[in-house]
C-alpha cells in the first residue's frame, strides 16, 4: 500500500475561489451582476442567492492576502482549528440559527481537515453580524478560521448569511454570502455555507450540498430485504424510494441528479429501471425476455446508459439511447464484461472483464472495442468508477482473502489502496473527486452492510450514519 501524492490541478489561491464562473472580482459591480454570477445556486428549491452588497465591499481585494489554507494533498495534515459561534438570530430564526451553525461545524469537522474550537474556550462572543470582529480574542484561543453568520426567518422563507475570517491575519477571507430558501431546505443552506468555507480554504470543489442514493437493507443475510433510499451526504433527510417487495441493487444518479438507474427483480427477473426522482415514476428500460440487464450508469450528458446484458450466461457491455431505446453492443467476448463507467468527458468507458482469467480493469472508447487493460497488480480488480475530476479510477480489489477500495491514475499507475477489510466494495466519488464512499460488510450471520467514506488520500476513514444496514451508495452531483 502506498500513499503517493497524485498530480492534481494546481491549487488555486483562495482569492480565486469564490464562484468559479467569475474570473475576477470587482466591488463596483452591482448586486444584480453578482446574482447573475451565482446562477449555479439559484435553482435551490424556491431559493435565491444574492451577493450581499454591503458584504461584497469586504471582498477579495483583502482576501488575496489571507494566509489560511489547507493543501489536502499534502502527506500530513494538521487539522485547522475553526470556530462557528451560533449564528445570530436576526428575527424569527429560533432554533434554525443554532442548528444551521451546528451543521456547518459538522460538515467541516467531518472532513478531518478541520477541528472545531470548543465553545467554552471562547473569550468573546459574536453578538451582532455586523460588529467588528475582535481578532485578538480568537487568536488567543488558537482558532484560525472564524465563521460568523446570521439567520432571518419569516413566512416560508429563511435567509442565511455568513462571513469567513482569517483570524491570524485579521481579515475576512472572501466576501460574505447570503442564501435564501424554504425552512425545509435549512440543512442545504448550512451545507452551502460549509461548502463555501471548505472551497475557500482548501481550494477544492465543494461537496457537502449533495445527496446519496443507496440500498437500505433489513432482515437476515439469507433473506435480505432491500429498498432504495436517498439521503443527504451526511445521512440526514432519508427518504425511501421503493418498498422492499423486490430485490433492488446498485442505484446510480443521472448527471443532474434528476433520475436514478437501478437493477430490480420487480418483474421476477433482474432488469434495469429508471426512476424520476421528482415524482418517483419508474419504468423498465426495456427488458428482453431471456436476458438479464444490470450494472447501469449514465453518460455525462444523461442521454445514454451503459450497462451489462447477459444472454445465455455471457455478459457483455451495451449502451442504450435512453430516449429511443436503441441499443448498441460495445463488447463482444465470451468473458464477463461489466461495471462500465464513463469518463467525465464522455469519450471513454472504464469497465471490468475476466477475459484474462480474473477480473481486471480495462478502458475502451465510448463506441466500444477491445479495451486496454490498466490494472496490473496482484489480485482481482473490479467496479471501476471514473473520478468526476477525470484524473483517477476508483476500484474494488480482492487479494489474499481481503477486499480493498483503491484508486489509480487512468493509466493504471500510482495504485494505492485506501482501505482493507473482510468485504469492501462499490466505491462512489464525491462531486469534488476528493472523497470516496463505499460499502463495508461484516462477516458471518451477524455481519451487516454499512456505508463508509474515506479521503482519496486514505485519510479520514469513517462510517456514514444510516438508519440501518445499507449498501451500494452512489453520490449525486452537486445539487442544482
Amino acid at each position: 500500500m502506498s500513499f503517493i501524492s497524485f498530480p492534481c490541478k494546481p491549487r488555486r489561491k483562495p482569492a480565486d475561489l469564490e464562484g468559479q464562473s467569475r474570473p475576477t472580482y470587482s466591488p463596483q459591480k452591482s448586486p444584480l451582476k453578482n446574482e447573475d454570477k451565482m446562477r449555479p445556486f439559484t435553482s435551490l428549491t424556491a431559493a435565491l442567492l444574492i451577493g450581499l452588497s454591503s458584504l461584497t465591499m469586504l471582498g477579495l481585494t483583502t482576501a488575496a492576502h489571507a494566509e489560511i489554507n489547507i493543501d489536502i494533498t499534502s502527506p500530513v495534515i494538521e487539522p485547522m482549528p475553526f470556530a462557528v459561534p451560533d449564528f445570530i438570530d436576526e428575527g424569527g430564526a429560533g432554533d434554525y440559527a443554532r442548528d444551521i451553525s451546528r451543521v456547518v461545524a459538522a460538515d467541516l469537522a467531518g472532513t478531518g481537515l478541520f477541528i472545531e474550537t470548543p465553545k467554552d474556550a471562547y473569550i468573546s462572543n459574536i453578538t451582532s453580524f455586523d460588529a467588528p470582529v475582535s481578532y485578538p480574542d480568537w487568536q488567543a484561543i488558537n482558532t484560525q478560521a472564524l465563521i460568523t453568520g446570521a439567520v432571518q426567518a419569516g413566512g416560508d422563507r429563511i435567509v442565511v448569511k455568513f462571513r469567513l475570517f482569517d483570524v491570524a491575519s485579521g481579515q475576512p477571507l472572501g466576501e460574505g454570502l447570503q442564501f435564501a430558501g424554504t425552512p425545509g431546505s435549512w440543512r442545504r443552506m448550512a451545507h452551502k455555507v460549509a461548502d463555501a468555507v471548505y472551497a475557500r480554504i482548501t481550494g477544492e470543489g465543494p461537496y457537502f450540498d449533495s445527496r446519496v442514493v443507496y440500498v437500505a437493507e433489513s432482515g437476515p443475510k439469507n433473506q435480505r430485504q432491500k429498498r432504495l433510499g436517498v439521503m443527504d451526504y451526511d445521512g440526514a433527510n432519508v427518504k425511501y424510494l421503493t418498498d422492499s417487495s423486490s430485490i433492488v441493487l446498485a442505484p446510480r444518479f443521472s448527471p443532474t441528479g434528476d433520475r436514478i438507474l437501478f437493477t430490480s427483480y420487480a418483474s421476477g427477473f433482474p432488469a434495469i429501471y429508471v426512476m424520476n426522482v421528482g415524482n418517483l415514476k419508474t419504468r423498465n428500460l426495456g427488458e428482453v425476455p431471456g436476458t438479464m440487464t444490470f450494472a447501469p450508469r449514465f453518460s455525462p450528458d444523461g442521454n445514454t446508459v451503459v450497462f451489462s446484458l447477459e444472454k445465455g450466461g455471457n455478459s457483455d457491455i451495451y449502451s442504450m439511447d435512453i430516449n429511443s431505446g436503441a441499443m448498441t453492443q460495445l463488447t463482444n467476448s465470451p468473458s464477463i464484461e461489466t461495471s462500465p463507467s464513463f469518463s467525465p468527458d464522455g469519450s471513454k468507458i472504464v469497465f471490468e472483464s475476466d477475459r484474462s482469467g480474473t477480473q481486471q480493469i480495462y478502458i475502451m472508447g465510448a463506441g466500444g472495442g477491445e479495451g486496454v487493460r490498466i490494472s496490473g497488480g496482484k489480485g482481482r480488480y473490479s467496479t471501476p468508477v471514473w473520478s468526476p475530476r477525470g484524473d483517477m479510477i476508483a476500484f474494488t480489489k480482492q487479494n489474499e482473502g481481503r477486499f480493498h477500495i483503491g484508486a489509480m491514475l487512468t493509466d493504471g499507475t500510482e495504485e494505492r489502496l485506501l482501505t482493507a477489510s473482510f468485504l469492501d466494495e462499490g466505491p462512489t466519488w464525491a462531486p469534488n473527486g476528493r472523497v470516496i464512499m463505499f460499502t463495508r460488510e461484516g462477516a458471518g450471520a451477524g455481519g451487516q452492510a454499512g456505508l463508509m467514506s474515506v479521503d482519496v488520500s486514505g485519510r479520514n476513514l469513517k462510517a456514514v450514519p444510516t438508519d440501518g444496514p445499507a449498501s451500494d451508495p452512489n453520490w449525486s452531483p452537486m445539487l442544482p
Binding site: N222, S245, Y265, S267, G268, G313, S315, Q398, F422, G444
Partner: protein, 175 residues
C-alpha cells in the same frame, strides 16, 4: 395425545416448505409477491408428497435439485453432471413442470460480477439439460448473484453450499 404427532407433522411440513419454497426469494409479505412475473413459474405450496415420485418434493429431495461449483467456476463437475442427468431423466417423464434455474454465488466477490457469475452457472446447467433432451421452452434462468445465500457463515463450509445452481420446478409448463 393425538395432537402431538399432528403438531410434529405440521412443523415438519412447514420446515419442508421453508426449505424448498421456490418463491423464497420473492421479498415482501405476499407469498406470490405483488409484482407478478414469477407467478407462472412459482408454486408456493404445491411441492407434494416426497414419497410420490412425481412430486416436486421428490425431485428436490431424491433426484437432487441443486449442483455446486468450485470458487469462481461455472464448469460442471462430474458429480454435478450426474445429478443433472438424473434431473433430465426425471423431467422427461414429468413433462408438465416448468423450470427456473437459479444461479448463485458466494459472498467472496463484488455484487455485479457475482450476478454475471450466477448467470454463467445457471446457463451451464441449462445447456447441460438441453443436451440431455430437456426442451429449452420449459426453462428460464435467473441469477441472484450473492443476494440469496442459503448458508450465512463466512467460511468455506458455507460458501461451498452457496455456489450453486438450483433447478426450481413449478406446475404449468403446458399451461
Amino acid at each position: 395425545m393425538t395432537l402431538l404427532p399432528k403438531a410434529i407433522l405440521l412443523v415438519a411440513a412447514l420446515a419442508l416448505t421453508a426449505c424448498n419454497n421456490p418463491n423464497r426469494y420473492k421479498d415482501g409479505a405476499g407469498a406470490n409477491g405483488g409484482a407478478g412475473g414469477n407467478g407462472g413459474y412459482v408454486d408456493t405450496n404445491g411441492l407434494g408428497d416426497p414419497s410420490n415420485p412425481k412430486s416436486i418434493a421428490y425431485f428436490n429431495q431424491s433426484i437432487g435439485d441443486r449442483v455446486l461449483f468450485p470458487v469462481d467456476q461455472s464448469t460442471l463437475t462430474p458429480e454435478a453432471r450426474g445429478i443433472l442427468s438424473g434431473q433430465a431423466s426425471w423431467l422427461a417423464t414429468n413433462a408438465d413442470y416448468a423450470i427456473i434455474i437459479e444461479g448463485h454465488a458466494d459472498e467472496q466477490g463484488t455484487r455485479e460480477y457475482n450476478l454475471a457469475l450466477g448467470a454463467r452457472r445457471a446457463a451451464s446447467v441449462q445447456d447441460f439439460l438441453i443436451s440431455q433432451g430437456v426442451s429449452p421452452s420449459r426453462m428460464r434462468t435467473i441469477s441472484y448473484g450473492k443476494e440469496r445465500p442459503i448458508e450465512v457463515c463466512s467460511d468455506e463450509a458455507c460458501y461451498s453450499k452457496n455456489r450453486r445452481a438450483v433447478t426450481v420446478l413449478s406446475m404449468g409448463a403446458g399451461a
